[in-house]
């Protein structure tokens, strides 16, 4: 049951430790940023969100990429399987996020500006 796609040439341990180092460094950076919260990052808004939050989200996706590609061996799978997994999730999740966050923002506006009493 051995497959060419999963069989490594030599040992992959070196790559594993490199990926572990990358994930650790990124996590440490995230935690440090989360604790000190630099003012120029929290005060700057970019596309409706704080720059700091954009950084967190981009770093998270960067980490997710390494976990999926290196740890879950997506880089050794066939292109078809990889695309079936990655594009399906990216497409559906982006749609879900877009629709729910837009709706959440709209309800916030209604609560705030509409003539609806909800806090008695």
């Amino acid at each position: 049951m051995a497959h060419d796609t999963t069989q490594h040439h030599g040992s992959a341990t070196k790559r594993i430790w490199i990926v572990f180092a990358i994930l650790s460094v990124v996590t440490i950076v995230e935690v440090i940023l989360g604790i000190i919260k630099p003012e120029f990052l929290t005060d700057t808004n970019f596309l409706g969100m704080r720059l700091l939050n954009w950084i967190f989200i981009i770093l998270t996706i960067y980490k997710a990429y390494y976990i999926a590609w290196a740890f879950m061996h997506l880089e050794h799978e066939s292109k078809g399987l990889r695309r079936a997994i990655v594009w399906t999730s990216i497409f559906l999740v982006s749609y879900l996020i877009f629709i729910l966050l837009t709706e959440g923002g709209y309800i916030y506006d209604i609560y705030k500006g509409g003539h609806v009493a909800w806090d008695f």
């Binding site: 497959h3 992959a12 594993i16 995230e30 740890f71 879950m72 559906l92």
Partner: protein
């Protein structure tokens, strides 16, 4: 091939399972599709969390203030240190898992055993840490007062430091006593008495001139609004209806009850995944020890359970970002 499979005489042929679409074995591909659907479930939860947060964008609790405990550091404000540690534990158990898979590719039974064992230990430590985090969240720290509109009022002193209910309350002999089963023939259950009644808090608040009320509303800088002394007194006397300690599914001393609901639901669902992952890992671990995969000539089962384990780690990376960082 596995010895337990019923032979049909078509093995290896296209319609006998010999054709492997996408060059992945049946089990591995199905594990991937399960992971994909599970990823969509978690996305649904996290997006729903985002929805509720956007709905209450100007009054959502600040995660740094909620999760600031660290074992053996009592009273020390340690925002995120503990979750960061948990994240490391999970990432590291992912590393040992992938090392086990790698050792499996080289048919090294001893190494697979050791790495699987380390992975299980890491998973157990993580689940234990999560339980500790839940315990802190459920028991709460300072306590607060809730209003008729479902808002939370917290107390701070002149320096803006949080003050606990226990420091404010002036003991008043209560009229109500807790109703116990031995006092009534048709006893069902009674509402539990809070540790500190609203009257005790009000009395203590009036006595101590330094105390101010902090509302949930966020200012422009992302800090919670602190009312003046007069506003605080007015608010407490007109709107407060009871005290809240800790968090559960209906009230939450840190702010919106929805925050607690989502916390319990999402981290609980993730914790359940970690727990089931540990169980599956243990089963595979014993199979490795008794040499099942050695005889089968392939450690692909380790690889499949590894996929699940990495997925759990992957989800945590996102939960960590959206619950604790953003």
């Amino acid at each position: 091939m596995e010895a337990t499979v019923v032979r049909t005489g078509t093995e290896g042929k296209t319609w006998g399972g010999g054709n492997e679409p996408l060059k992945a074995s049946y089990g591995k591909m199905m594990m991937w599709f399960f992971i994909l659907s599970d990823a969509l479930t978690f996305s649904g939860f996290l997006a729903a969390y985002g929805f509720s947060r956007f709905k209450f964008i100007d009054s959502w609790p600040i995660a740094d203030e909620v999760f600031n405990h660290f074992p053996f550091l009592h009273g020390v404000d340690a925002p995120m240190y503990y979750v960061a540690l948990m994240t490391f534990i999970l990432i590291f158990s992912s590393v040992t898992m992938v090392l086990a898979v790698d050792a499996g590719h080289h048919m090294k039974k001893g190494k697979v055993t050791i790495y699987m064992f380390l992975t299980i230990i890491g998973g157990l430590i993580f689940v234990g840490s999560q339980a500790w985090e839940w315990k802190n969240f459920i028991s709460g720290e300072y306590g607060a007062v809730k209003t008729a509109g479902g808002n939370i009022l917290q107390f701070v002193d002149a320096e803006g430091e949080r003050v606990a209910l226990s420091e404010i309350a002036v003991p008043i002999e209560g009229v109500r006593v807790e109703h116990d089963a031995n006092n009534g023939i048709w006893f069902d259950s009674g509402e539990e008495l809070p540790t500190y009644s609203l009257e005790e808090i009000k009395a203590g608040f009036i006595q101590n001139e330094d105390l101010l009320i902090r509302t949930q509303t966020l200012t422009e800088d992302g800090q919670k609004t602190i009312l003046s002394r007069d506003e605080s007194l007015l608010k407490l006397n007109t709107e407060a209806i009871g005290t809240v300690e800790g968090a559960n599914l209906t009230e939450n001393e840190y702010g919106a009850p929805l925050f607690a609901d989502f916390f319990f639901f999402i981290t609980g669902f993730h914790g359940f995944h970690v727990f089931s992952g540990v169980i599956i890992n243990i089963i595979i671990f014993f199979n490795v020890i008794i040499g099942t995969y050695d005889r089968r000539g392939s450690y692909e089962m380790v690889e499949k359970v590894g996929l699940y384990w990495h997925f759990v780690d992957l989800v945590w990376v996102f939960v960590f970002t959206f619950f604790y960082l953003v």
